[in-house]
Amino acid sequence: MSDPILRTEKLTKDYGRVRALADMDLTIPSGEIFGLLGPNGSGKSTAIRLILGFLRPTLGMASVQGFDCWTQSVEVKKRLTYLPGELRLYENMTGRQLVSFLARLRGEPIDGDMDRLATRFDIDLSRPLVQLSSGMKRKVALLAVLVPRVPFIILDEPTNALDPSMREELLALLREAKIRGQTVMFSSHVLSEVESVCDRVGILQRGRLVHLETMESLRRERVIWARLVAPLQQWPDVPGAKPVTELGREIAFEQTGPPGPLFAWLGTQAVEEIRVEATGLHPVYLKYHGNAA
């Protein structure tokens, strides 16, 4: 694992008697795209706000590239950009003025990236923000986040208000950021987005980080479903394949590792149809949040 860009230890935040985030231990290595999942109130925004130094931890600590997120928040923010979930911009500015203003606060010159990205996002930066739709405003804000070449990008539900083609464009940009060596942490409700772009996911439940898993290991898990000509007489004992359902002639296995042995066994059966599906995030997420997904 490369040097961590983010490290939290027992990160905890209380609002009065309410514990919004409890003992969050998380390390994100450089160059990773990390997805933070959880329903509203699960602690995602609190975790992000603690990393940004907006909130003082009740217990524990968070650091970005070794800088403490509360006591050295300016150093931390030199190394990251942030897109808020609830987007509020200076509406008396044009898109260009806003992006330039934020870049000047960072002490960074505006190079050709702003115009290149504006073309790619199909936005007119000369229009006042007050005249733009919420989707267009989000594009401007995304542009402001993506223009600075910082090592860490934090996006809170970045695809809200974006149309499907723009969502794809954004996910492609995140992949490009990863290729450039940037680290991305983003929260989302849309599991398919997280599955398609993230290297690793964390699931928060009532302020606790209850699940951490790489997408690679999730992708290794699949469900193999088959419809037999006749009902199954006896479940086979196949390495890496766990029987999960049997409904008349239809059977399903959760399968990890090489699928060869299971397919070999299926080859001995009279099979009408076979379907292979990646397990994905959905069942994992449902395990913690039930119908909240």
């Binding site: 907006f54 923010k77 509020r88 911009l89």
Partner: protein
């Protein structure tokens, strides 16, 4: 820092111009009011008083007796000589409308500066950049130091411009005699009462600036601790309204007169500075410079804001 100040000035530019023009325009209007009062109305009363062998102050006391006392207090108190042009002109500096405009600016800007941005949700956009929280407070302080002198000067510029247009004040005796033809004796005018030195009004600018800075500093401290602009605005308005009323009522009611020094308006004495060149106010501990007290209050307010804002949680906007 320059970028942040540019943005803050850009946000207030329209309101700044409007308020400056209001203050400037009001003073021009007040010069006109003064001209009419000292050249057309006052001669009537001073002549009657002179003929009756009484002090003109007695007529004033009758005019300002009962509820009129409050008006007298707001206009500068018992020591004012309404027949004198400088006294009348100086009322333009303590007129409740002027004090309200000054406070509206100072309270409005400071309340919207921190709590307003937090409430709107734009503060997190700003503080997601590598900007120390303390620098935001310093930037607001510097904006105050740029805008407050402009507004305070616009008051004096109004007096200056108004007097250049309408002054020097002169009485057209023939016209006044005709106007007060009912009097069985000629109207007498004391030309000394009409003399005005507009430059004597200039030092009052510092006292005006100090009041605005004090109001801004206190409001900034409230704003740094607040979350909702409405609540911060409400709390600040109530705070200064209580101080204002306390200052007026305590002049009429001796029992609570000892409370006057606890309000910022006690130290707002532009008339005293203009008419007598005295900068001091009386405190139980002795005489103190009121302008310096106001500046001190403003500085303390900003220090409290700085300490509070640096250490507080910034909750997500609702």
């Amino acid at each position: 820092m320059g970028t942040l100040i540019w943005k803050l000035l850009r946000d207030v530019r329209t309101a700044l111009i409007v308020i400056a023009l209001l203050l400037f325009g009001f003073q021009i209007l007040w010069v006109k009011v003064t001209q009419r009062a000292v050249t057309q109305i006052s001669p009537f009363f001073t002549t009657i008083a002179g003929r009756a062998g009484i002090n003109a102050k007695l007529i004033e006391e009758q005019l300002f007796s009962g509820p009129g006392k409050i008006v007298q207090m707001m206009a500068g108190g018992e020591n004012m000589h309404f027949e004198r042009a400088p006294d009348m002109l100086s009322i333009g500096y303590v007129h409740p409308l002027i004090q309200i405009i000054l406070c509206v600016w100072a309270i409005g800007r400071a309340a919207l500066a921190l709590a307003g941005e937090l409430d709107r949700g734009t503060l997190e956009l700003l503080l997601a950049q590598p900007v120390p929280r303390g620098r935001v407070i310093v930037a607001h302080l510097l904006v105050d130091l740029m805008t407050i002198p402009l507004l305070a000067c616009s008051i004096w510029f109004g007096t200056y411009a108004g007097y250049k247009i309408l002054g020097p004040f002169e009485v057209n005796l023939e016209e006044v005699q005709k106007q007060f033809a009912m009097l069985p004796f000629p109207v007498v005018v004391n030309a000394e009462f009409l003399k005005v030195d507009v430059w004597a009004f200039a030092p009052a600018i510092f006292n005006i600036m100090a009041l605005m800075f004090a109001v801004s500093g206190i409001t900034m401290a409230i704003s740094a601790a607040g979350r909702f602009r409405g609540k911060v605005l409400g709390l600040s308005v109530v705070t200064f309204l209580v101080m204002f009323l306390l200052n007026v009522i305590a002049q009429l009611w001796d029992t609570i007169s000892a409370l006057r020094p606890f309000g910022v308006f006690y130290y707002y004495q532009p008339q005293r500075i203009i008419l007598s060149g005295k900068w001091d106010v009386t405190l139980p501990c002795g005489q103190v410079n009121g302008t310096l007290v106001l500046l001190g209050v403003g500085i303390i307010g900003y220090l409290v804001a700085w300490m509070k804002f640096r250490g507080r949680d910034l909750p997500a906007p609702l």
